[in-house]
């Protein structure tokens, strides 16, 4: 069977991914938002005895390599030359899309044009004549409707035929002043032994002074030849600047646009050339981007998103939680108490289950985001918020991930994929944990309720606000230090509004929710086991309570033949009673103190003392590394209260007895800033592709938390 390698190239938002899905029958996520494909995706299909492999390139407007996406697309095209390129072209926006087509033609690989969204173009009376267009470009043109799979078969036919015929596109001509120069340079390049880059393309890029291509040629050509070429290029640059008054990169771009616009004009019906009537999109934007209503409408959209995620999602999450509870009970019924049962119930169900419980919230959050993306509203959000975000050194597109971060940091980090500039994306990811996620709320509620029962709302508001201000400061600092660099331009397309399809949206939600479960799940499982081990081992050989029982200072009271209480005589000879639950809780507290986590807490105490934390708080904070809400249950265990919900108010009264409000505030600061949870760590590592960044964030935020709490506790101590 023959193998054909095909690359899919096209503008962002031209429907490349939907054509890819139609061709391969897979279900990659499709969005109406520039830059949805961040990883390159590969799929394959057998057609007419050929095994065709498709690679879906990141969307790009040009092959000049200015954003990460474009650089990646170009790198793949040049370094793994495909047998054929399918150029997906948005038929409703022909002229702009053909600019990339011209550049693909310059590469000289066989080319087939998928004229996508042909139904919309047809409806608007702007459908180009495919024959004329094909004649001008020297490539087969196939009308397609990606999301309905229309035209996929014909496209596959043309791919095989064009590949057999080695149908190279028409040569791109730049006119008498430039062509002879390019031809002679191309000849020199191929004679000098360049094997990878198409010579004429390399010549054009050399003339434009493209640094990456120059660097490549320097590596692959002999130095003397390269020097001669460079001299020719420099002379050519000067010559062209004298003739045209602009450097070659601008001149060539102008000529390419000229070719694109000529091809668009000749192939489309006469009457559509000039008129750009105020279309539906324009009318919708008159409302959505209105000077007065624009921001309130956006606030409403955000409110609905949160309502959907939390008000609708939480009962579902509760349902899931009770299912896991049921599962835990079943296992407790089947298995005898011991190592395996404890690992399954406390470690795995407690840890992984605790994360899976959030799946309904996350799926609904993604539902809302998908709707915004697929309709085209997301680009408008960036448009609305850019002024503000730009002030703090970020990008308009950073806003949505930040908002999502208040729900859960994990999907927030995933949502940063829309940022095309890597620096912007990193800054956003690094400060995201400061947007207090919903798992931090139980901690805030516990501490604020204990020390500031009257002003709970005010304290919460201050903590959230503090996080936001700290995030802004940190973003600014990062932007002028480690991640310094020019602001990325905000030259962004506002795509036309489209009615999303139900299938598309569901695919989208499924695709992302699956990622959350599968990718984060594996690491969470591992860390849950580690944390379980830390807080369970080693077991004390002898419980103190058992010792008390043996020595007779604690005695069992029986009523009607049933054990209902135990009687305790403490050192000062006061007798007390505790019931069975309390006995179990006392044992658990002892086990926790004896475990590695407890010892770690004890070991950390000297370092944590200046922050106002004793070993109990330190131990609970170690647990909170897994997930923030664990802090509450661990404090409960350490004070022998068990981990049930009902004990929160008793825990609060113990906290008020034992600690000062200063310690309370110190806890709030520490939990707000400290390392994000394990799931976040896993997803940051995945999304940035770097252990160093994930670990740096983890350690950096913890150190910052330590310093801020220390500063607060010490200064407030001096003032008091």
């Amino acid at each position: 069977m023959r193998r054909i390698n095909v690359a899919l190239a096209g503008n962002p938002n031209a429907g490349k991914t939907s054509v890819f899905n139609a061709l391969t029958g897979s279900s990659q996520h499709v969005g109406n938002y520039p830059g949805v494909t961040v990883d390159t995706v590969v799929g394959s299909k057998v057609h007419r005895d050929c095994e065709i492999t498709f690679i879906d390139l990141p969307g790009s407007y040009s092959l000049t390599a200015h954003s990460d996406d474009e650089r990646e697309a170009r790198r793949i095209l040049l370094h793994n030359p495909p047998d054929l390129i399918i150029n997906v072209v948005d038929a409703t926006n022909l002229e702009r899309n053909l600019y990339l087509t011209v550049q693909l033609m310059e590469l000289g690989y066989p080319l087939v044009i998928a004229l996508n969204m042909s139904d919309e173009a047809e409806a608007a009376g702007r459908m180009p004549d495919t024959e004329v267009l094909g004649e001008i470009l020297g490539a087969e043109v196939v009308p397609t409707v990606g999301h309905r799979g229309k035209g996929a078969r014909e496209l596959l036919d043309r791919v095989v035929e064009s590949c057999d015929a080695e149908a190279h596109p028409r040569r791109v001509r730049f006119g008498r002043d430039i062509d002879p120069l390019l031809d002679s340079m191309a000849r020199n390049i191929s004679e000098a032994g360049e094997e990878l880059y198409p010579p004429r393309y390399a010549a054009a890029k050399l003339l434009e002074g493209d640094p990456e291509v120059v660097a490549h040629l320097e590596g692959s050509l002999p130095p003397e030849e390269m020097e001669a070429l460079r001299a020719t290029a420099e002379a050519g640059r000067k010559h062209l600047e004298d003739i045209f008054g602009d450097p070659p990169e601008v001149v060539l771009a102008e000529l390419r646009h000229g070719i694109a616009s000529g091809a668009a004009k000749e192939s489309t019906p006469e009457h559509t050339h000039r008129s750009t009537p105020p279309d539906t999109t324009h009318r919708i934007d008159n409302v959505m981007l209105n000077r007065i209503f624009g921001l309130p409408l956006f606030a409403l959209a955000m409110y609905l998103t949160f309502w959907l995620t939390f008000t609708v999602g939480s009962p579902l999450a509760g349902l899931l939680e009770s299912l896991f509870g049921l599962l835990a009970e079943l296992i407790q019924g089947w298995l005898p108490p011991g190592l395996i049962r404890s690992l399954l119930v406390d470690g795995i169900i407690g840890g992984v289950g605790g994360v899976l419980v959030f799946v309904p919230n996350i799926a609904l959050l993604f539902l809302a985001i998908s709707i915004m993306e697929d309709t085209g509203y997301m680009a408008r959000v960036a448009f609305l918020m850019d002024r503000f975000m730009h002030k703090i050194g970020l990008h308009g597109q950073s806003f949505i991930p930040m908002i999502i971060g208040f729900g859960c940091t994990v999907p927030g980090v995933m949502a940063t994929r829309v940022l095309s500039n890597r620096r912007d994306r990193l800054v956003t990811i690094l400060v995201l944990p400061l947007m207090s996620c919903s798992a931090k709320l139980p901690v805030y509620l516990l501490v604020a309720g204990a020390f500031f029962p009257g002003q709970r709302a005010l304290v919460l508001w201050l903590v959230y606000l503090g996080g936001i201000l700290l995030a802004i400061t940190l973003a600014k600092l990062l932007r002028v230090s480690v991640l310094r660099g020019a602001n990325s331009p905000f030259v962004m397309e506002l795509p036309p509004y489209r009615l999303p399809t139900l299938k598309g949206i569901l695919q989208h939600v499924w695709f992302r929710a699956r990622h959350y479960v599968a990718k984060a799940g594996t690491i969470i499982l591992a860390f849950s086991i580690v944390l379980w081990f830390l807080s369970s081992y080693p077991k004390p050989e002898q419980h103190q309570v058992n010792g008390l029982l043996d020595s007779g200072r604690l005695e069992v009271v029986e009523e009607d033949g049933e054990v209902s209480a135990l009687r305790l005589e403490d050192a000062t000879d006061v007798r007390g009673t505790i019931d069975r639950g309390q006995l179990a809780a006392a044992r658990k507290a002892e086990e926790m103190e004896h475990s590695l986590a407890g010892r770690l807490g004890h070991g950390l105490e000297p370092a944590m003392r200046p922050l106002g934390f004793d070993w109990r708080i330190s131990t609970a904070l170690v647990g909170a590394l897994g997930a923030k809400e664990i802090f509450v249950s661990q404090m409960g265990i350490l004070f022998s209260l068990g981990s049930s919900e009902a004990s929160v108010s008793r825990l609060q009264s113990i906290l008020t007895d034992r600690y000062t409000a200063r310690t309370g505030i110190s806890i709030l600061i520490f939990v707000l800033v400290m390392a994000p949870c394990i799931a976040t760590f896993a997803i940051v590592r995945r999304e940035t592709g770097s252990w160093a960044i994930a670990a740096g964030q983890f350690v950096g935020l913890t150190v910052l938390a330590y310093l801020l709490s220390l500063a607060y506790y010490q200064i407030s101590g001096l003032l008091a």
Binding site: Y61, S62, T64, H66, N93, E95, R96, Y99, E208, G209, D210, P211, V214, R230, E234, R237, D242, G245, P247, E249, V250, A253, E254, H257, S261, T276, T281, H282, D285, L289, N290, R291, I292, G294, L295, A379, A382, F383, L384, D386, R387, F388, H390, G396, A486, S488, P489, F490, V491, M492, E493, L494
Partner: protein
């Protein structure tokens, strides 16, 4: 190395780097590109060649720095530039930017001989007396009284543009609903390439559709699609109203 051995443009690059180092303590590629009004790619190429000549040290991911040899040459180039400018402005009385601009052009084309004669003439004009006043002042007085007519600012075939020296309105000055044609792009390289890729080129018609509720960015309709631009990017697009 002597002045005049390097090519004209490399001398200019060296001088720009020297000036940036004097003013700011560092010479970023982007700033060099901005001052010279060329693309970053050209700057990188030039820097590599200066590096080869051992006039600067320049490697990937670091900012260019002058070697002792480069520093000496740059000082010579800079002092020659200062002299030519001084000659134009103080002796001949050429005003403002024209003196700076023409000094940039002239300095490369003066042979050492002409230069030394000019130096001598300057000393003469400043010190020698003609009818009780310095030659310099006599010339200035004559010029003002109309005996000698100072010519109009000469226009070259190519108009050189400097940053901040806009001649027409810019896109950010338009109001929603206005249409205009692009005349020139003043943007730095990265933004300019992006604009060019999106089809914003001299000669293209565009319309300002709206401003965002916070006043920034703006929505522009061009070639049948909508684009959002920050005002600072729109400021770099010189237009003529339609």
């Amino acid at each position: 190395m002597e002045v005049g051995v390097l090519s004209e443009s490399l001398e200019d690059y060296l001088e720009t780097i020297y000036n940036l180092l004097q003013e700011k303590g560092e010479a970023r590629v982007s700033e060099i590109a901005e001052r010279r009004d060329v693309s970053m790619a050209s700057v990188c190429q030039a820097l590599q060649r200066l590096n080869k000549e051992e006039l600067i040290t320049y490697g990937a991911r670091e900012m260019p720095a002058l070697t002792p040899k480069g520093n000496r040459l740059a000082q010579k180039i800079a002092s020659r530039h200062r002299f030519v400018r001084k000659f134009l402005s103080e002796i001949l009385g050429v005003q403002g930017e024209a003196a700076e601009r023409d000094a940039c052009l002239l300095e490369h084309h003066l042979s050492r001989e002409t230069l030394s004669h000019l130096v001598a003439f300057t000393q003469f004009a400043e010190s020698a007396r003609a009818g009780g006043e310095t030659v310099q002042n006599a010339f200035r007085r004559c010029e003002q009284s109309g005996y000698v007519t100072a010519p109009d600012r000469p226009h070259g075939k190519r108009r050189r543009r400097y940053k901040g020296q806009h001649e027409g309105p810019v896109l950010s000055e338009l109001e929603p609903g206005d249409s205009a044609r692009v005349v020139h792009l003043h943007a730095g390289c990265a933004v300019r390439q992006r604009l060019v890729d999106m089809g914003i080129l001299p000669g293209v018609e565009l319309a300002l559709v709206r401003k965002a509720p916070l006043g920034d960015p703006v929505e522009v309709r061009v070639r049948g699609f909508s684009l959002s631009l920050r005002r600072e990017e729109a400021r770099a697009i010189e237009v003529e109203r339609l």
